[in-house]
């Protein structure tokens, strides 16, 4: 018995929709079976809250008097460089951007105390941020310098636009070398001292809809505490990753590009963080509602941590050198138990993506839908999940004479 999104939305508007989280549906399907669950439940909510480096925001800060054109010049927000290659008063600030005078890894491992992600969080917190622009001046935009405080409410547009978020599954990082290494998956102690993973597992949006049957361009999502949309497939989108029998990819696979009004978001869910020795980034909270349109979808949302496998990868050698070697496969139930076995050794685990907050997001989205505050959308177009979609490939390096 199939349902439509329009029918589900009618129920949501009447306050009659049955909404559960991706954790709660596991129990329901186990007790009542897939068919009954698909009939009874209308929406399953997912959540994830972790560092997502390919994130950032663009702003239009309004024209100055006399006018200035940032395009072609340089700009910074609290000393963190923003991209100016646009028109007069638009800027893009990336989460991993660093102030010019940050010492970086000069003394390894660098601290990376402040970067683009932190600026975005401060804007969200309502703080004043210093905008500095150096422009070259034209007849129509004569001004060459600007040094002004701005705040989120003063901006015309402030839009979070992340080109790769919500990774469908990820590596477990370990360190086989004899010294501590500092990675975007955290600090890894030598000789398999710890293992860090980064996914909400059974709560993670794309692991609950592995073939993206319900998620596509235009899907309305919970983004950073506000409302966002799926804009496109994320970069490095890879539907061809090897999959388990349940359809779940065993390797990093599909991703989302998401967009939403920063002004509606909260600094609790859009948070600047920083990995020692690696750099700053942005913790992003995302919740995706999955309409239970049919039994196939119901079967997928019932996925449990023990049904999701991922690869253990050595970040001292295999990962940085781009080698495909994998040290083994583990599932998220094992990872969440606090210990996995790698090469016969017991290794303590740490999450990098917060499961506790993923739960809170799924719960919050559930309440919003129940109250009728969040309606589902029909996707406008599918993401390229088909067998014929482009392969995600490494760079075919063609060295130039000048640079080598």
């Amino acid at each position: 018995m199939a349902k439509t999104i329009a029918e589900i939305n009618e129920k949501i508007k009447k306050g009659q929709a049955v909404v559960v989280t991706a954790e709660e549906i596991i129990e329901i399907v186990a007790k009542k079976g897939v068919a009954a669950a698909a009939k009874e439940v209308d929406v399953v909510t997912t959540g994830t809250f972790g560092p997502m480096c390919s994130s950032g925001a663009y702003f239009n800060f309004g024209h100055t008097k006399p006018k200035i054109k940032a395009g072609g010049g340089t700009a910074s927000l609290n000393g963190v460089p923003a991209y100016t290659g646009w028109a007069a008063v638009d800027l893009y600030l990336g989460a991993t951007a660093l102030p010019a005078d940050d010492p970086r890894n000069k003394i390894h491992p660098g601290e990376f105390a402040y970067g683009g992600g932190h600026v975005i969080e401060e804007l969200l917190a309502g703080k004043d941020v210093r905008l500095q622009i150096e422009a070259y001046g034209t007849d129509c935009y004569p001004r060459k310098h600007l040094d002004s405080w701005i705040s989120l409410k003063d901006l015309n547009e402030a839009v979070l636009f992340n080109t790769r978020n919500a990774y469908q599954n990820y590596n477990v990082a370990v360190n086989l070398s004899g010294k501590t290494i500092y990675t975007y998956l955290g600090t890894l102690k030598p000789n398999l001292g710890n293992a860090n993973y980064c996914s909400a597992g059974q709560l993670s949006p794309l692991l609950n809809d592995p073939f993206l049957k319900t998620i596509g361009i235009g899907t309305r999502i919970w983004l950073g505490g506000g409302v966002g949309y799926v804009a496109w497939q994320g970069t490095q989108f890879n539907p061809h990753a090897p999959r388990l029998d349940n359809g779940v990819p065993k390797r990093p696979a599909q991703t989302l590009a998401v967009i939403g009004d920063l002004k509606g978001m909260s600094p609790k869910w859009i948070k600047g963080v920083s990995f020692v020795g690696y750099g700053p980034t942005l913790n992003v909270g995302i919740g995706v509602p999955i309409p239970l349109l049919n039994e196939e979808i119901a079967k997928h949302v019932a996925v449990r941590d023990e049904d999701i496998q991922c690869a253990v990868v050595d970040y001292s050698e295999a990962y940085p050198q781009g080698k495909p070697d994998v040290l083994g496969e583990v599932n998220y139930a094992q990872l969440k138990s606090g210990e996995i076995e790698v090469k016969g050794k017991k290794v303590p685990t740490s999450g990098i993506s917060s499961y506790k907050n993923a739960r809170i997001i799924a719960e919050e989205l559930k309440e919003q839908i129940k109250k009728g505050d969040f309606l589902l959308t029909e996707k406008v177009a599918d993401l390229p999940t088909g067998a014929d979609s482009p392969k995600f490939k490494p760079l075919n390096e063609r060295p130039t004479k000048e640079g080598n």
Binding site: P109, K271, V273, S274, N283, G338, S350, S353, S354
Partner: protein
């Protein structure tokens, strides 16, 4: 040989007295100054490591107290700023004593047990939002 870290607070009228010099001489102790400062209202603040015989260290501390110096043991205080903590769990596999730990494997809530913390500070920098703070 024993060692003890203490925090000394000298009242204004005592900061120009050779109290530490007498402490060291009379009790045959050696010392490390870990921190020393004079507050704007002219009170002295010092973090000192005393090295010597355990009974002499205790006698020395008694002497300091008699001189009107406030003496406290140095307990470097590691605190988690829960408002900043994103509950990721990155610290859990770093902490050698499991002072930072997952309290509940269902919710994966991260908690901190002050009593287990040895103030090694290994967790400070790996914490992505820098939510773990050292207080003296």
């Amino acid at each position: 040989m024993a060692a003890k870290k203490i925090v000394l607070n000298f009242p204004k009228e005592k900061i120009d007295k050779p109290i530490v010099a007498r402490l060291i001489k009379d009790h045959d102790l050696s010392f490390n100054i870990m921190k020393a400062s004079i507050t704007p209202d002219q009170e002295g603040h010092m973090v000192l490591e005393l090295i010597g015989d355990a009974p002499e260290i205790e006698k020395g501390i008694r002497f300091l107290k008699e001189q009107g110096v406030k003496v406290e043991p140095l307990a470097k205080d590691i605190r988690v700023n829960w408002g900043k903590c994103t509950q990721c769990g990155a610290c859990v596999s770093i902490c050698p004593t499991s002072a930072l730990y997952v309290k509940d494997r269902q919710t994966m809530e991260v908690a901190f047990d002050t009593d287990k913390c040895i103030a090694c500070e290994l967790c400070i920098r790996p914490c992505p939002p820098r939510a773990i703070e050292v207080h003296f």
